[in-house]
């Protein structure tokens, strides 16, 4: 496997794991990171979260990753676990 692809996969995996741990901890979910698939919907079906949960998640993500998430960014990113990972990676790369 090419080194740059290996590196990208490692970054994606570690960010995904961080996001899963934040979700599980912030929402007091009784599960392990492996129980939650990356494309699990967060609202409606899927985890069935509500607007209060959304605020909790945003606050936790901002705190843990030291970044600011606007309302519009939050609306677009809080669809699945993977879309949160996309947002964080895009902001981290933007800061590099």
């Amino acid at each position: 496997m090419q080194t740059d692809l290996k590196g990208r996969i490692e970054i994606r995996e570690s960010t995904l794991l961080n996001v899963l741990e934040i979700l599980i901890s912030a929402l007091n979910m009784k599960m392990q990171p492996g129980d939650l698939d990356p494309d699990t919907p967060l609202f409606g079906s899927g985890l069935g979260l509500d607007s209060v949960d959304a605020v909790v998640i945003i606050v936790e993500l901002e705190s843990r990753f030291s970044l600011r998430i606007s309302e519009e960014e939050g609306r677009r990113a809080l669809r699945t676990v993977n879309t949160i990972v996309d947002l964080i990676l895009s902001k981290e790369y933007a800061n590099d």
């Binding site: 492996g34 990356p38 699990t40 919907p41 609306r75 699945t80």
Partner: protein, 344 residues
């Protein structure tokens, strides 16, 4: 069948932009009633079925190998339960329930598909049309809830990522309902959608489809559907296979992808010269103006955000689901309307 050509598709565009009506002949419904209806459901469903009146939950029914053969909502209407959804044509669900019912609970099953039909409205303004055609009480229905009507039942659910309502009405009233909805829908630019338009919408939103990826004998973790199961529940059909899978792990996963050119189902996906997976479904997305699909990709290549794969000598990029930013996410029934959409 999915959309294969970059052509404008009226039903699909109505699902994405206004509202579309579909006569869902492949959706079925069982009514389970009796003192122990929910004891039965608790026995056969891999999720918790502690539902409030009017509440629905999206789950799967699994065979002994933990392979889903039914994609259903469990719904509570007082002491009665509905199993609403899709199951393989080869499966007689009532027979399967009898074989898996456990200690003979007190219940009876009625196949409502024989007496009723299901008309579905999907679209970012489906709520507004429903409120006008049926009544303003529709506006108060949360996602995954149901409500009895004077002559029928309405379920708020769907697989398009937009506002969705399934209307279950007696077959003899079907034509009257269609006429009413079409007449009310004229001012909403209502279009008739077919299975193809729904399938494409469902693919873009990464919904499970028994007729697509359901054909590959995949398990919930491979399908990214663990959320349809309760982690706390230990006994249900397929639970032993699920337990083994969780202990051993899995090495492949369904992943959403996009590509500029078409590919075929079962085409192999490569990283350099190494085969990393295969296409399970693909269709042209008029919103993205490229092809969207689901691929079964093996670890560690199964992540979203990788633009390094090839299919048929064309680039393929894995992406996070859903593949589109649904308009319904940005439409709020409290402040928006189809008639003022341009101002918004």
């Amino acid at each position: 069948m999915l959309m294969t050509e970059p052509e404008s598709h009226k039903g699909y565009l109505a699902i994405r932009n206004s509202v579309a009506l579909e006569d869902e002949t492949d959706m079925r419904c069982l009514l389970i009633r009796g003192r122990e209806a929910f004891k039965l459901l608790d026995h056969i469903c891999p999720c918790n079925v502690f539902l409030q009146n009017g509440e629905m939950k999206h789950t799967l029914l699994l065979d002994d190998n933990a392979v889903p053969f039914a994609d259903v909502y469990v719904c509570r209407n007082r002491e009665d339960a509905y199993l609403l959804g899709y199951w393989l044509k080869s499966v007689d669900l009532i027979d399967w329930i009898k074989q898996n019912q456990g200690s003979s609970p007190d219940y009876s099953v009625i196949d409502l598909t024989k007496s009723d039909c299901i008309l579905t409205l999907n679209g970012p303004y489906a709520w507004e049309l429903c409120a006008k055609a049926i009544g303003p009480e529709i506006l108060g229905m949360p996602y995954l809830s149901m409500m009895s009507l004077n002559s029928g039942t309405i379920f708020r659910a769907g697989v398009t990522g937009e506002y969705g309502y399934h209307l279950m009405v007696p077959k003899e009233q079907k034509n009257d309902w269609i006429e009413n909805l079409i007449n009310t829908g004229i001012s909403f630019d209502l279009a008739i959608a077919d299975r193809r338009a729904r399938d494409q919408s469902s693919l873009e939103n990464f919904f499970f489809d028994l007729d697509r990826e359901g054909q590959y004998q995949l398990t919930p973790p491979e399908l990214q559907l663990q959320w349809r199961l309760s982690r706390q529940k230990s006994e249900y059909p397929g639970s032993r296979a699920m337990q083994n899978l969780r202990e051993k792990g899995w090495d492949r996963r369904l992943t959403c992808f996009v590509t500029k050119n078409s590919a075929s189902v079962n085409d192999e996906i490569f990283f350099e010269n190494e085969s990393v997976g295969q296409v399970l479904s693909i269709g042209y997305s008029p919103v993205r103006k490229e092809f969207v699909g689901k691929a079964l990709i093996r670890r560690p290549f199964w992540h979203a955000g990788l633009k390094c794969f090839m299919v048929n000598d064309q680039e393929l990029e894995t992406i996070s689901a859903p593949a589109i930013d649904n308009r319904s996410i940005h439409v709020n029934p409290n402040i928006h309307s189809y008639f003022t959409r341009k101002e918004n």
